[in-house]
Amino acid sequence: MDFLSLAMDTAKSLGADYADIRIQKSYTEMIYLRNLSLKNTSLNEIYGYGIRVFKDGAWGFAHNNVFTTDEVNKTVKKAFAIAKESGRVKYDNGLVLAHERGYIDSYKTPYCVDPFGVPLSEKVELMMEVNKTMLNYAEIKLAVFMLECRKDEKLFASTLGSRLDIQTVYIEPTITATAVAEGDSQSRTYSHGGQAKGWEWIQGLNLTERAVQVAEEAILKVRADSLGAEERKTLLLDPNHMALTMHESVGHPTELDRVLGWEADFAGISFATPEKLGNYQYGSKIVNFVADNTLEGGIATAGYDDDGVPNQKWYIIKDGILNEYGNTRATAPLIGNKMSRGCNRATNYFDFPINRIPNLYLEPGKEKLSPAELIADTEDGVYIEGRGSFSIDQHRENFQFGGDMFWEIKNGKKVRPLKKILYKSNNPEFWNSVDAICDERFFQTFGVTNCGKGQPGQRGRMTHGGTLARFRDIRVGGSQ
């Protein structure tokens, strides 16, 4: 039975102004190894469909997992009925959807080895080896390896005539060693986040070698000193660390739904309001943030978003100036945009698509500059690797970040490890303090697979990237 056509025909016959159906099967394999004990080895499959109906400027969404003519029709009718109820308390005079056309297309994440085709025994064997490597060190009291593989198969149809067949895959290995010594406990993690790649990527990572580095740095860290009182310092932030800072301080504030106040009761709003477009100095002149949902290996890359809008590439911040938002068909017209940038995504079939951060990266510096040269050029500062504590206000303006590994820089050299470092800054101070960015030879990407947003909560995913960058005159100190 062609449930796609059935749903769209029923929606049209009811008088829907627009409707779409997303049939989605999602597979998630999770393996969680803690000190050689497998705490979770599971395969989860979620299969069903969600139907959106747009009527008189308001949405209704109903989902189901029973695939019969009767149930599909009932689900369309439920979505239509609650869209009409929504219309009793309309947003302004009713929402308007940005112009779009229908597409008949398919997309598949490019990979060589399907991670779901790799035997569990092979995965567990690798994970055990990595765990054992870390536990060989007496100070390492906790060794964790988490592996997540996810595959989504989507069929999308809309009353615009779209028929899309989309298959995406990502893998995310995370290894953490925790050292306990001298009354303290400190962890070090290796993670690139999720990557839209096949198992061949894991095979090339040399995770056992990385486990040695992770364990040894955890031990260095637990015995390291902290800094004293807060003072203004230079920071060198690696792209893994910056993936988190750009996510929180650039990605979220430039989601148009937040800008419009749609998240005011929960995730918060944004300081980056529309009158700042084209004139607000978000960062220094060398700061360019690119949104790119066509990025190879990006985990928001899927051909089309869940509005049926093609993936695109554009500048969020150009030469330091706030240039454009990430938006959706429902949000774009509210600031006068005729077309959507295609950022509407749902996690599972039962989720309503919401305005998400696209793949977003800090464009590498245009001048040739290596990380070694940047360190050599820094007299006094702190080099931060990886992600740690993070907290930002609900307007996405004022924030405090930690990190995973810290090194003191003196006279152009890493001189000693540090721990318990926090820095405080805000927008626009932070991104305007950037005075050097390494070049494209050193560009790396890091996936975020746990971006919590929406009610009910959804776990969104996107990729961030960049190269080592230098920030001047930031408040840095030990905790407290």
Partner: protein, 428 residues
């Protein structure tokens, strides 16, 4: 919606068809209606039923688990096949524990017909009422109203079988006009005990007490934390409240059981028989829930423990299933007179650990901050960032208000805490 009979039939099918040495079948279903509104209009409206069926099987001590969202025989066969294949390919788990046998479970009352019968029309009418109130104040309202019916079922090869049905209604709304922004939220298991008009009045009262905020200096300042802030904080305390990670040296609770680790006025319990609060019949794996004193007069009595760790250390497998913090009898007006000056915080936001070992956390204030001096509210002030060792802060509790229901699972008081460590001020 799937019935308990459907779930029992699924368990029977699993019993007949699983050849593994052990299994645990967990089924969770829900019927949901969620209406989200923003800037005085509905922006999202969702209805549907969800189901999660999880089967874990073991051969000797080798485990595998599979889950789906369908109870058909074909789907159950797929789960058996997938979980069994995973278990056979897996390595033995040195921390394997056999599934729970049959238990006599406590009686709990988590279901309310009033909640189950709420219609979409009623929810939209309530939202309309709230929006009209906001419009009368020339303000914008955003929030969510939602109803859920939850079914929880667990069966094991060793003979455990348990089922519980619960209801939940919640409503949350943030009202904003220029620099003034505040929020109220509440959830209950019984919609019959929900007072929408009272909630609107509370929102108006908070809103009217605020005006465009001014910045004051950071520092150690006495704080009155209203119940939403106290509960938000407790969520994070509970996150690290694990006996094993404490024993392994990763948290501040190492070697603190039985000791006065919190302030002497701080008592935190979970109770099965509180008529207002939801409770659990059984915990993870099928362990019967029971009344637990976690912290009594500042003495750490119990911590969460998994079934494996409880068995190893001869402890009870526990986790907090609801939150009751004992209160006092000090009104907020009295609290303001007990210190020279201070701030009143409606809620916290973005709490994260900064140092897991010392138990230091960071976070911000949200939903309106008031400055008081000489026993009276003086002005609205901008938000703060704080970095605090939260268990130490309980030692600085100067007074407590009555414990009031904040969510369907929690009763907490307003707290007056001395010298809260505000390390930064925000720009709004």
């Amino acid at each position: 919606m799937i019935t308990s009979t459907d779930m029992q039939k699924a368990a029977e099918f699993i019993r007949k068809n699983v050849s593994a040495d052990d299994f645990t079948l967990s089924i969770n279903g829900s019927e949901d209606l969620l209406t989200r509104f923003a800037q005085n209009g509905i922006t999202q409206h969702i209805t549907g039923n969800k189901l999660n069926v999880n089967l874990s099987v073991s051969y000797d001590s080798k485990n595998g688990s599979a889950s789906g969202n369908n109870l058909s025989k074909d789907s159950l066969k797929y789960l058996i096949k997938t979980a069994s294949e995973m278990a056979k390919l897996n390595q033995p788990d040195p921390e394997f524990v056999r599934s729970e046998p049959a238990h006599i479970l406590p009686e709990v009352d988590n279901f309310a017909q009033n909640t189950a019968e709420i219609t979409v029309e009623e929810i939209v009418s309530n939202i309309s009422l709230c929006v009209k109130n906001a419009e009368s104040k020339n303000a914008k309202l955003s929030g969510i109203s939602q109803k859920h019916i939850y079914d929880t079922f667990l069966a094991t090869k060793s003979g455990f079988e348990g089922f519980d049905r619960s209801t939940q209604f919640s409503h949350s709304m943030t009202m904003k006009r220029e620099g003034v922004e505040t929020k109220v939220s509440r959830s209950v298991k019984d919609h019959g005990r929900f007072n929408m008009q009272g909630m609107i009045e509370k929102l108006n009262s908070q809103f009217d007490s605020l005006n465009n905020p001014v910045q004051i200096n950071k520092g150690h300042i006495p704080v009155i934390l209203r119940p939403a802030a106290v509960l938000n904080w407790l969520h994070y305390l509970i996150w690290t409240f694990d006996r094993r990670t404490a024993d392994e040296g990763h948290t501040p609770f190492t070697d603190q059981i039985g000791k006065q680790f919190f302030g002497k006025d701080f008592t935190f319990r979970s109770r099965l028989d509180d008529p207002d609060l939801a409770a659990s019949k059984f915990l993870g794996g099928g362990v019967p829930a029971e009344n637990v004193d976690w912290i009594v007069n500042g003495v750490l009595k119990n911590m969460s423990a998994t079934r494996y760790y409880a068995k190893q250390k001869n402890l009870k497998a526990l986790r907090p299933y609801n939150i009751i913090v004992d209160g006092g009898d000090t009104a907020e007006e009295e609290m303001m007179k007990m210190v020279d000056r201070g701030v009143i915080i409606n809620n916290f936001w973005y709490i994260r650990p900064t140092d897991r070992k010392t138990g230091e956390w960071t976070g911000l204030s949200r939903d309106g901050v008031l400055y008081f001096e000489d026993g009276k509210i003086q002005k609205s002030v901008t938000n703060f960032r704080w970095n605090e060792i939260l268990h130490d802060a309980t030692k600085r509790i100067l007074a407590m208000g009555p414990s009031v229901q904040q969510e369907y699972y929690a009763k907490v008081p307003t707290l007056l805490i001395d010298d809260f460590n505000f390390v930064d001020v925000t720009t709004f």
